[in-house]
């Protein structure tokens, strides 16, 4: 899922400035599941802004809405109708959601309330870890299901660097060395032969280096 967390309240208050009528918009997608921008967080942010407004003697007028997904235009009409009645939209969706709302709300300022951090997985309760950088050229088949692009701090494709120490990365002793994980896993799978396959230079044109990407599926059009 896409994982995010709250921006500092002082940053959000800076965005809002003198604006008084605020629509706080949550999303029932990834940010609900990672407890960053669903209905519960919309309620909490509304309470905090309400307190902030009252304390400064200039209350906010806050409306709340949480839609199924802010990254699908079909789920936006109610949100957009409300947006038209407010000075600004504070979106608690990921960056994709914030942008789609902004695209469909001309003349209305849309601010992000959360930072979108990464595509990740639950490692243990209350903890998420980055697992995918959406490079567009998945190599998991050859690395035992462990992504060197994401989990190696240097995104190395052919074994570890000299900074691998006792299974940990030199960047941070809390980070496991991705290549150590890969070799251990290939060994357990009896597929260490894969480690001998030299990966050619990666085709980064499929990643961000080719500019913003697009996917067209004519079968769905």
């Amino acid at each position: 899922m896409i994982v995010g967390d709250w921006k500092p309240i002082e940053t959000i208050l800076d965005y809002l400035g003198e604006r008084e009528r605020i629509l706080i918009a949550g999303c029932n997608g990834c940010v609900t599941v990672c407890n960053a921008g669903g209905q519960k967080e919309v309620d909490m942010l509304a309470r905090i802004l309400d307190l902030a407004g009252k304390k400064r003697g200039r209350p906010f007028h806050i409306t709340k809405i949480t839609v199924e997904r802010q990254c699908d235009p079909e789920f936006l009409p109610e949100l957009l109708a409300l947006a038209a009645e407010h000075d600004a939209v504070l979106s608690m969706a990921c960056g994709a959601g914030v942008q789609l709302v902004a695209e469909h709300a001309p003349g209305r300022e849309v601010f992000p309330a959360i930072d979108t951090n990464f595509i990740g997985a639950v490692e243990r309760k209350g903890e998420w870890g980055e697992r995918c950088q959406a490079c567009g050229d998945c190599k998991l088949f050859v690395t035992g299901g462990i992504c060197p692009v994401t989990r190696c701090s240097k995104s190395l494709m052919n074994g570890p660097c000299g900074g691998s120490r006792d299974g940990k990365c030199e960047v941070d002793p809390e980070i496991p060395c991705a290549w150590n994980l890969i070799v251990d896993r290939l060994e357990a799978l009896g597929r260490l032969d894969q480690y001998d396959i030299i990966q050619p230079p990666a085709d980064w044109s499929k990643s961000r280096d080719g500019g913003p990407r697009k996917l067209i599926r004519k079968d769905l059009q």
Partner: protein
């Protein structure tokens, strides 16, 4: 249909109940309704009826047995040593086998609302929640009705049908009434208190001088982990100068609620500090079971802090 005669093994235990009623004052359910049938004594009589065949198993009977916060105070207070919790648990199992699956005070998930985030499954110390056939289900026999799962749900999809004053909406109504204009001119704070650790002690010790009760209200929440972040914020928004959460010491909390509420308050203090709310206004204090003196001490210390800080909002803004 299950055979209620399986309760036969508890006949001796049920006979031991001398109807003294010591269990009354310790039962949060009875304290809420004041009905005999909601007291441990009343429920034991109900079970005696099931055993003798004078009462038929029914949803009503199952409901009464499922309405329990598992604090065990009744058992501790029992003058005859009736193992009330064990008797209840066997009776529940038989009633469920007989098809009377009544949620009572256990937490349930609304499948239409649930985002399947699995937070509630992961955090339940009693392993009472699981993902089965595409939805979250509660094991009625494992759930201890602590309510720790209420706050972790991102969609308010976890609810407890019978809260007996401890559900978020019930607490928030009490808070709103306490701070309602003109009703309590001295009203300053809310003390949310774990029912396990403090409630019995609070009742047996006349600890609240009249002047103090005008200033703060104690709301019993069963486990402190039941307190949602939103409830703390809405209490401040309702006009409270401060909020104190009294929990069991971490190592004593059977539900994992105590460390959880501490983490929850810690997370709230950051944004609150950013909008100029002094951290002294939202505090957590640990009080071990049966220590009303400590409860009074921490409450008085908190009230001293809150009085020094003054109102958070002008009365008209709350």
């Amino acid at each position: 249909m299950s055979d209620m005669s399986k309760l036969e093994k508890w006949k001796g235990a049920l006979n031991k109940c001398i109807r003294c009623g010591y269990c009354y004052e310790h039962c949060p359910i009875y304290k809420s309704t004041r009905w005999e049938i909601d007291s441990p004594r009343g429920k034991l009589i109900l079970l005696y009826g099931l055993l003798s065949g004078e009462i038929e198993p029914s949803e009503y009977v199952a409901g009464k047995l499922m309405e329990c916060f598992h604090c065990g105070r009744c058992q501790k207070a029992c003058s005859s040593g009736v193992p009330i919790q064990d008797v209840y648990q066997d009776a529940r199992e038989l009633l469920i086998e007989a098809g009377f699956e009544v949620p009572g005070t256990t937490s349930q998930t609304d499948a239409d609302v649930c985002a399947l985030c699995l937070n509630c499954v992961r955090m339940c110390k009693h392993e009472a929640r699981s993902f089965v056939d595409g939805r979250i289900v509660t094991d009625l026999l494992k759930c201890q009705s602590c309510g720790s799962c209420l706050d972790v749900c991102p969609k308010q999809g976890v609810t407890i049908g019978r809260g007996f004053g401890t559900n978020p909406d019930e607490l928030e109504r009490e808070v709103a009434a306490f701070f309602a204009d003109g009703r309590n001119p001295e009203a300053k704070a809310i003390v949310f208190s774990c029912g396990w650790s403090n409630y019995p002690g609070m009742q047996t010790a006349n600890y609240e001088p009249d002047a103090a009760t005008a200033e703060y209200k104690v709301l019993v929440t069963v486990c402190s982990g039941r307190i949602r972040s939103e409830t703390i914020l809405s209490t401040l928004d309702a006009g409270a100068w401060g909020v104190l959460v009294v929990s069991c010491p971490e190592e004593d909390c059977e539900h994992g609620g105590s460390p959880r509420v501490k983490a929850r308050v810690e997370a709230l203090l950051k944004p609150l500090a950013a909008i100029g709310v002094d951290p002294g206004r939202v505090q957590v204090a640990e009080v071990a079971q049966g220590n009303p003196k400590k409860f009074l001490e921490v409450t008085q210390a908190f009230m001293k802090d809150v009085r020094a800080l003054g109102p958070l909002l002008a009365r008209s803004e709350a």
